[in-house]
């Protein structure tokens, strides 16, 4: 305060003195202007000496934000946050970026720093559990560059013996750059493919083993291994289906089929018409059965009925309706081999209109089986094909895409209609593979669905060690003392679906987790370790953090702000400029004004 008075007094004295000097000057030109200039100059000097301030009100947002670093962050992105607290929950990041404050859990932010109202997240983001801990705190997310590696993957983990393992997925990487993907099983390379970055891939192999195994998927870029990941699979033996063959006459096709099925331990019954109302019956790998008069009770014993058209037509009305009822109500499968008889009379006949090409003889053609990439060896086929009709599915077609075998739903069962009658010639030519593929396709497609009493699912597709995993049991009754890796999880019945029981499991060791005391063997699941499938986890983190951000965006412009008075200093440059102008005028007037 005293400083202001001193300045004021000095300036006043100086002003009076200066004005007096000006007034006393001999040359009285521009007197008024000189007076003004002197006054201004002294006033400005005073202003410079006394920094002037003014008070105004200002809207200030309630900005109490912090930065959270996750894997994959870039140090450069932190320059814009001077003086803002930087957190991380990852010790490795703390080591890399020492300024970061290491937290044990994200809840610490709320408890220890209650004033923080928003987070800027950098890196791959957080997973769903961690986001839950944030408790709807608004965030802004600066996602890291998409990590290079296998971004998505899927494979059939539960396999039946003979079923091919198919690994499909998407690879992140530089566009146009080649990457190698290798499928390894039991230390042997089984399949490999070279793909460009950011493209899909598919690898195939048929496992030879039974039980649990861990295959490997290796992603490479030139010599560098990007990832080496685990593909746990479980292979179970095939449970044979029960088959009844109805034949209007003995023929090679049925004979070879019977031999092939029985050699592979399938239960086969055959009823062959040898004369009017006379049948020869045969039971292989199964107990004998009365097959002369067929009834619903008889059909109940089978999963698939295979017959030629004539044999089905010559069934009595009762037999025929029993068969139909079994197929439509109970899901029995029916495979019909076409012959030259008119099939208008059969109940499913309308689904498979035939196209007989007149004037053409039999021709050899390679067949395309549905779901197979390679065509079969050539087979001599009749010049007949099935005209496609809506609601049917083509199972086998020839090279010109004409349907030879087709299927349609019949109630809860399936009917397969085939125009091929000489697959045994594959067997005669020693081509067991094509024969097996053909009949496996047809019988598997038709077979009555097997009901299992208990089935176990895991909700998470990558169960991770030290992370919660939800296990679901589908069962009519409460699961008993199920043990998972020697612990007994407590199952809770779903309110909406009474057959759904779920429990949460925390695997403590990576690797196979034995599931015992429930259902058949082979319910074991594999717990991945923290470092497995990093790329996928990071991609998922980016995704869930992004969706969390959409719901809880940190946006201060939308929030309320408070008005506060603030004292602002006036910039001194103006005073200097005015002082300079006044002095310049006085100088110029003294120099040129007299002239």
């Amino acid at each position: 305060m005293s400083w202001s008075i001193i300045v004021a007094v000095i300036c006043l004295v100086l002003l009076i003195f200066s004005v007096w000097k000006e007034a006393m000057r001999v040359n009285r030109g521009h007197l008024i202007w000189r007076m003004v200039a002197v006054t201004v100059a002294v006033a400005m000097l005073a202003c410079i000496a006394l920094p002037l301030t003014y008070t105004s009100t200002q809207k200030t947002p309630d900005e109490h934000r912090a930065v959270l670093l996750t894997d994959g962050f870039s140090v450069d992105s932190l320059k814009q946050y001077p003086g803002i607290p930087i957190f991380t929950t990852n010790a490795a990041i703390k080591k890399e970026y020492a300024k970061a404050i290491l937290l044990n859990t994200l809840t610490e932010i709320k408890t220890n720093h209650p004033d923080i109202t928003g987070l800027n997240i950098w890196g791959y983001g957080l997973d769903a559990d961690e986001l839950k801990q944030l408790d709807k705190m608004p965030v802004r997310f600066g996602a890291a560059v998409k990590p290079t590696g296998v971004a998505t993957v899927n494979w059939n983990r539960e396999l039946k013996s003979g079923e091919a393992l198919t690994v499909q997925g998407h690879l992140n990487g530089d566009d146009g750059k080649p990457y190698q993907l290798i499928l390894k099983g039991l230390n042997v390379t089984l399949d490999s493919i070279t793909v460009k970055g950011n493209s899909d891939f598919e690898l195939r192999s048929t496992p030879k083993i039974k039980g649990n195994a861990v295959y490997n998927l290796i992603a490479k870029s030139d010599k560098d291994t990007l990832e080496s990941e685990q593909l746990p699979i479980h292979v179970t033996a095939v449970k044979p289906v029960r088959i009844l063959i109805l034949a209007s006459s003995p023929d090679f096709e049925n004979r070879f089929l019977k031999n092939w099925l029985s050699a592979n331990s399938y239960a086969v019954h055959i009823r062959t018409a040898i004369s009017k109302n006379k049948f020869s019956t045969e039971a292989i790998n199964a107990s004998q059965m009365h097959l002369v008069n067929l009834s619903a009770a008889t059909f109940q014993n089978f999963d698939v009925i295979l017959g030629d058209q004539l044999a089905l037509q010559s069934l009595s009305a009762a037999e025929s309706s029993a068969l139909r009822q079994q197929v439509t109500q109970k899901g029995l499968g029916l495979i019909v081999r076409a012959d030259s008889t008119d099939k208008g009379a059969i109940w499913f006949g309308n689904s498979f209109p035939l196209n007989r090409i007149s004037g053409q003889t039999q021709s050899a053609a390679a067949l395309q089986l549905s779901g197979k990439t390679i065509q079969t060896e050539k087979l001599v086929t009749d010049p007949v094909n099935i005209i496609y009709k809506e609601g049917t599915q083509i199972l086998v077609s020839d090279a010109r895409n004409k349907a030879l075998v087709s299927t349609c739903l019949a109630g809860s069962g399936k009917v397969i209609f085939s125009t091929i009658n000489n697959t045994y010639s594959w067997m005669l030519a020693g081509d067991e593979n094509d024969y097996t593929a053909y009949w496996s396709l047809l019988i598997s497609k038709a077979a009555r669905k097997a009901a299992v009493p208990v089935s176990i699912n895991l909700v998470d597709d990558f169960p991770q060690v030290n992370h919660e995993t939800r296990m679901q049991v589908l069962s009519g009754s409460a699961p008993g003392q199920v043990s998972v890796a020697a612990t007994n999880p407590a199952f809770v019945q779903s309110v909406a679906m009474p057959f759904l029981w779920s429990a949460s499991i925390w695997p403590v060791k990576p690797g196979w987790q034995t599931v015992a005391n429930i259902g058949d063997d082979g319910n074991d699941f594999y717990a991945f370790s923290e470092k497995d499938w990093k790329t996928i986890k990071n991609m998922r983190k980016i995704f869930v953090t992004n969706s969390y951000t959409k719901e809880n965006l940190l946006n201060y412009t939308l929030r309320t702000s408070t008005e506060r008075p603030i004292v602002k200093p006036i910039s001194q440059i103006w005073f200097y400029l005015l002082l300079l102008a006044a002095c310049s005028f006085l100088w110029a007037e003294a120099k040129f004004g007299s002239a």
């Binding site: 099983g185 077979a447 669905k449 097997a450």
Partner: protein, 697 residues
């Protein structure tokens, strides 16, 4: 006295020549030494001779003359006063002054002691060169640059023992394996100091194992089954045994109950001899008229040696039921005494010597035996001689359609005549032979022209009808038609258009070509060479004739019509439908243990403890692998060792061992086939059934 000068000069000259030759020999030797160190002894001697010849041819030491010697002496010795040449001049041509000088020179010559150094200059240089080359060769030989190359060329595949050092029991101080290859290999006895065996089938192997301390007993365990005790010496420190190796596998050394690592036994099988017939082709047809002989060339190869090879020939004579076979064993002219691994064989078979006639066939194959008494043989090759008898017979012609038999007979007649002419060749004069041959040629030409007419060819000479121009008849003056007839070509005469189809025409044309060729050879008095063409023409004609026939099938009998009302109306009550029952036992799958072992190994990988049942599975899988290893030790031995280590301490199993066993399992198992199976439904307390029922309403 007067000749002494010349004698002296001659002595010097002959020494000079000798020194030069010696120098050349030394240079050649130097090159040969180098060659010896680089490419071996055989080549070195060749290099020696060639170099020596070249050097001698270039240097020509014998061309050193006395005058050259004299010139040399003149330069070397001033006391000769540049007059040594006088010695060579004939005495009579010398003048007095020269004679005086000669006397002086001869004296000086006589007084000369020693030889001029010039003479041995080349010899000394050559000597130095030789020393240098010896040093270089020695350096090359010692450095082993080339030796290694030669060695690697000899044994391109280093054996297992060379690659991986073996783990030997600590008690064993020294082990010597004396391998005596069987006689058929012709290889010498060899020794080795490692246990891994890679020996010929039937080898006798003797083990001599010395231990550093006295050991109670020692034995060899083959394929985990066969146990051979080793006999010890008095001090129980040296053990020996012997065994003949016939099959591959592995073995271990057992010293006082302590088993060693697994050692591999690979057996090199003796391959059967390989026979390749270069000529003739698998089916050879000798046309009538060609020389009935066949030249057989073949190449035999074996890995050790061939002891014998035979040509097995069978001659089939006659046709139909009257066919007779006669077998011959024809040896090759080559001797197989040396048991070389490769032979090139040749044999000329004269069919006539085998008593073969036209229409007969010869089947032959070559059979070779190697030193191990393994035999192999080729496919049967066939050589047939064309049957002229059937071709020349008139059967089928007599009854045949009217296919100008007289023309056909003519071709046949030409052949018969030509053969007759050949038979009589030695008895008739050359002129007569030529004339008859030419006449036959003319006949052949006429025949060709006649057949040519069928094709619409024009006759090229006045055969038969053209008796001279008829135009000179005054009555025909201005007769346009007649003049046109005479001078115009009538191409499109409808009568000329053949009744043959294109195929027949082609064959007819081919026949005419053969006739042309036959005629050509007859005209140049070579009826022997004309015969094959004539036969071919005949065969084609006969084919034509057969083709012109029509075939009418026999008619069959007619069946009485069926009575439809009676059809399928028989009594079948008493017929019982057959009801069969059988059970097909599934084949034992020996691989099931290997399949199951994988999940046990999977458990071991995650360090989980395994139960006794799982341990048993591993044991069975291990047995399966050792069975595999005894057949293919090279592939499976490492995994068997790994499996043993795992079984010894399952809790401490190494990842590398598990990996190796898994790899062997993957390699051993067959790919499973996709078998029919039913889709499983999930338990839902009938909800989906309920849904379906409601949907169906």
């Amino acid at each position: 006295m007067d000749s002494s000068g010349i004698q002296h000069l001659n002595t010097i000259r002959s020494r000079w020549v000798a020194y030069e030759v010696a120098a050349n020999v030394l240079v050649a030797l130097a090159f040969a030494t180098l060659a010896y160190s680089v490419i071996g002894l055989g080549w070195a001697s060749a290099v020696l001779i060639v170099t020596l010849l070249i050097l001698l041819a270039v240097a020509k030491p014998w061309a050193i003359t006395e005058s050259k010697v004299a010139a040399l002496l003149n330069i070397q010795y001033p006391q000769l006063q540049e007059s040594c040449g006088l010695v060579l001049k004939p005495k009579d041509s010398l003048n007095l002054l020269e004679k005086l000088q000669l006397a002086k020179v001869e004296r000086a010559l006589h007084d000369l002691n020693g030889m001029p150094k010039q003479l041995t200059k080349h010899l000394r240089q050559a000597g130095l060169f030789l020393m240098l080359m010896l040093a270089v060769s020695f350096a090359i030989a010692k450095s082993g640059i080339l030796i290694q190359k030669v060695k690697s060329a000899l044994s391109p595949v280093p054996t297992m023992a060379e690659r991986i050092p073996e783990k030997v029991l600590p008690q064993i101080a020294k082990n010597i394996l004396i391998i005596s290859p069987p006689a058929y290999t012709g290889k010498p006895v060899r020794e080795q100091s490692y246990f891994t065996l890679n020996v010929e089938e039937g080898c006798s192997v003797k083990w001599e194992i010395s231990t550093n301390i006295a050991v109670k007993q020692a034995a060899l365990v083959f394929n985990e089954i066969e146990r051979i005790s080793l006999s010890a010496n008095a001090g129980h420190t040296v053990f020996t045994t012997q065994k003949i190796i016939t099959k591959p596998g592995f073995y271990q050394v057992d010293i006082d109950g302590k088993l060693s690592d697994l050692y591999q036994v690979e057996v090199i099988k003796d391959a059967s001899p390989v026979i390749r017939i270069i000529t003739p082709k698998p089916y050879t047809h000798i046309e009538a008229g060609e020389v009935p002989q066949v030249n057989i060339t073949a190449q035999l190869n074996d890995d050790y040696g061939i002891s014998n090879a035979l040509l097995m020939a069978t001659v089939a004579k006659g046709t139909g039921e009257a066919v007779k076979f006669k077998e011959y064993k024809i040896p090759f002219n080559t001797s197989f005494g040396e048991h070389k691994p490769k032979y090139d064989l040749q044999k000329l078979i004269d069919m006539k010597k085998l008593d073969m006639e036209p229409g007969d066939e010869l089947y032959f194959f070559i059979q070779a035996t190697d030193t191990h008494n393994q035999q192999s043989r080729t496919d049967a090759y066939t050589v047939s001689i064309q049957d002229t008898a059937a071709l020349l017979s008139m059967n089928g012609l007599v009854s045949g359609a009217d296919f100008k038999p007289e023309f056909f007979r003519s071709e046949r007649q030409i052949i018969i005549d030509a053969e007759q002419l050949l038979k009589e060749r030695d008895t008739i004069s050359l002129d007569a032979f030529k004339k008859r041959s030419n006449n036959l040629g003319i006949d052949q030409k006429l025949l060709r022209l006649r057949y040519g007419k069928f094709l619409g060819e024009e006759s090229e000479s006045n055969i038969g009808e053209h008796e001279g121009s008829t135009l000179s008849d005054p009555a025909d003056f201005n007769n346009v038609n007649k003049i046109m007839d005479e001078y115009a070509d009538k191409h499109d005469n409808s009568e000329d258009a053949g009744f043959f189809d294109a195929k027949q025409k082609d064959q007819l044309k081919a026949t005419l070509t053969e006739m042309w060729n036959a005629e050509l050879h007859l005209r140049i008095y070579k009826p022997q060479e004309a015969l094959p063409f004539a036969y071919k023409a005949l065969r084609l004609l006969k084919d034509l004739q057969q083709k012109s026939r029509a075939y009418v099938a026999k008619t069959s009998f007619k069946t009485p019509p069926l009575k439809m009302e009676k059809r399928l109306s028989g009594e079948l009550n008493k017929i019982i439908g057959p009801d069969l029952h059988s059970t097909v036992k599934p084949l034992d799958n020996p691989m099931i243990n290997l399949q199951n072992a994988v999940s046990v190994l999977e458990q071991l990988k995650s360090k989980a403890p395994i139960g006794t049942q799982q341990f048993r599975t591993l044991q069975l899988a291990g047995q399966q692998l050792s069975i595999k290893a005894s057949a293919q030790p090279g592939v499976y031995l490492a995994s068997v060792s790994a499996m043993r280590r795992i079984l010894a301490a399952p809790a401490l199993a190494q990842q590398a061992d598990i990996g190796r066993v898994e790899q062997a399992i993957q390699q051993t198992l067959h790919t499973a086939k996709p078998m029919p199976r039913a889709v499983q439904t999930q338990p839902d307390m009938g909800i989906s059934q309920q849904y379906y029922k409601n949907l169906d309403k």
